[in-house]
């Protein structure tokens, strides 16, 4: 029942033989060995398995790997633009002490990067709503919110026309739509 599929993950092409009932989460972790993407509840509630699909955040535990064919997947391994240059969200998670046990961190960071790609200047309430699909069992939410606020400031700074060009650490999130106005009913 296995079929060979081609996946694009973090800009790399993979060819992998999978049965159709394997989730994207299982294939990322077990076949591609990209274990930065976690598996938590398996029900789509906790957000630990969050990845970006064509720049949109999705829960990889609820997606069949075969349905990711033809799309660009971004995992936490692909968030940094270069080996020695973290994404601003990652850098600010470290600076703010927003990491405790770390299990929710990859999903949190991808949700934060997605939020900032849609809404570069979120209010505190919008940050909370933007991360409401990610649970932190250590309950370290305040530091996480602070990290996202700081990352937003850093990206804003970098987007100023007079900002120094060529700083790889301030690049936008991979695959995101930086022009999006965000969802505001």
């Amino acid at each position: 029942m296995k079929q060979t599929i081609r996946l694009r993950v973090n800009g790399d092409a993979y060819e992998v033989a999978v049965p159709p009932w394997r989730t994207l989460n299982e294939v990322l972790r077990e076949d591609l060995r990209l274990t930065g993407t976690k598996r938590g509840c398996g029900d789509g509630d906790c957000g630990a398995c969050t990845v970006l699909l064509d720049g949109r955040s999705v829960t990889s535990c609820l997606m069949l790997a075969v349905e990711a064919v033809g799309h660009e997947v971004t995992t936490v391994e692909g968030l940094a633009t270069a080996r020695d240059a973290l994404h601003p969200v990652q850098a600010e998670f470290i600076a703010a002490g927003a990491i405790q046990c770390g299990y929710c961190t990859p999903g949190m960071e991808l949700s934060a990067a997605y939020l900032l790609s849609r809404n570069p200047a979120p209010t505190d309430d919008e940050i909370r709503r933007g991360l409401s699909g990610n649970l932190c069992r250590c309950t370290g939410y305040q530091k996480i919110f602070e990290a996202v606020r700081r990352a937003a400031d850093r990206l804003k700074e970098a987007a100023r026309p007079d900002a120094a060009a060529g700083d790889p650490a301030t690049g936008g999130p991979a695959g995101g739509d930086p022009s999006g106005g965000g969802a505001r009913p």
Binding site: M1, P19, P20, W21, R22, T23, E26, G42, D43, G44, D45, G47, T50, L53, R56, S57, V58, T59, C61, L62, M63, L64, V66, E67, G70, S111, Y114, L115, R129, G130, S132, G133, G180, A183, R184, P185
Partner: protein, 304 residues
């Protein structure tokens, strides 16, 4: 939690989807966003032999607004697409409220409105508003197609009138009407992420300062979206004021048939129906008044 084994088909055309459905019948399940089906498969609640994915069929995710024809959602239109569409924000704010109340950011990016309806959960957030707005659904099969009012799609929890070879292909919402407003409010036990314990869609049309027509549809308090006809009809001819809205809330709470479960007791649900109906009618009234003004302004702009 490995999923059950199944054969997967990802056809490129609607005709192929329908042919596969006809060939496999009840053994097949259609996968739109997958957020309900994958959970059910991982819990062992369903074990389809065949899964038919819709993602590769072009055009099914379209969202189209026309002032005369109204709003059309394809069966692959994602919840987040509804939430982000400017025409929805401008003309169907209650639909955006229901979309916002649905699950999480990530699930809204995957799940479809049609999937939320076809899953037929009594607490589906997107059902009450669409029923209140008089939405209809188009069902297709190799035998032909039929259209029916959305309210008639639901048979019971998890049950619809869809035949095994039928696919819901389109949801059509009538165009916005003058001096008319709708609102959706919901409550859940823990947060926005949790399934709604009560959902209320209410709408009304004003004429000469009085209620000309009203709709109240309740979610999660009956096996299917509950149309509180008597409560809404009693508003006709009344001033859109607190007394009228309280009476409507009390009547709707009396008429619905909630159960008690892990999310809320039956009594709590009933009390919250009364409160949410009143609040939703207040918000709908504000929109009916504001919408009239905005429409006049728009028409002044476009009329040569």
């Amino acid at each position: 939690m490995s999923l059950c084994k199944f054969a997967y088909h990802g056809p490129d055309t609607l005709d192929e989807v329908l042919a596969l459905l006809a060939a496999h019948g009840p053994a097949a399940r259609v996968m739109a966003g997958g957020t309900d089906l994958v959970v059910k498969m991982s819990r062992g609640q369903v074990a389809p032999a065949v899964v038919i994915g819709l993602k590769r069929v072009p055009g099914l995710g379209d969202l189209h607004f026309d002032p005369v024809r109204g709003l059309e959602l394809g069966c692959m239109t994602r919840v987040s697409a509804v939430l982000e569409h400017p025409a929805v924000a401008a003309h169907y704010p209650a639909l955006a409220e229901a979309a916002q109340a649905t699950a999480t950011v990530q699930i809204r990016n995957m799940a479809t409105i049609a999937g939320n309806l076809c899953n037929a959960s009594p607490c589906a957030d997107n059902a009450p508003t669409l029923v209140a707005r008089g939405a209809s659904v188009e069902l297709r099969s190799p035998r032909g197609h039929r259209a029916l009012p959305l309210a008639e799609l639901f048979r019971g929890p998890g049950q619809t009138v869809l035949a095994p070879d039928e696919l819901l292909v389109r949801i059509t919402v009538p165009p916005p009407r003058a001096a008319t407003g709708f609102a959706y409010l919901s409550l859940s036990q823990r947060s926005a992420v949790d399934v709604s314990a009560v959902g209320v869609a209410a709408g009304l049309t004003l004429a000469d300062g009085r209620v000309a027509e009203a709709r109240i549809v309740l979610g999660a308090v009956a096996p299917t979206p509950f149309v509180a006809t008597a409560a809404a009809d009693a508003l006709r001819g009344r001033n859109p004021d607190d007394a009228a809205f309280r009476a409507a809330g009390a009547a709707a709470a009396e008429a619905c048939a909630p159960i008690g479960d892990v999310r809320a007791s039956a009594g709590y649900r009933r009390k919250m129906v009364a409160v949410l109906v009143r609040r939703a009618l207040e918000r709908a009234t504000a929109r009916a008044l504001g919408e009239g003004t905005a429409r006049a302004a728009r028409q002044a702009e476009v009329t040569p």
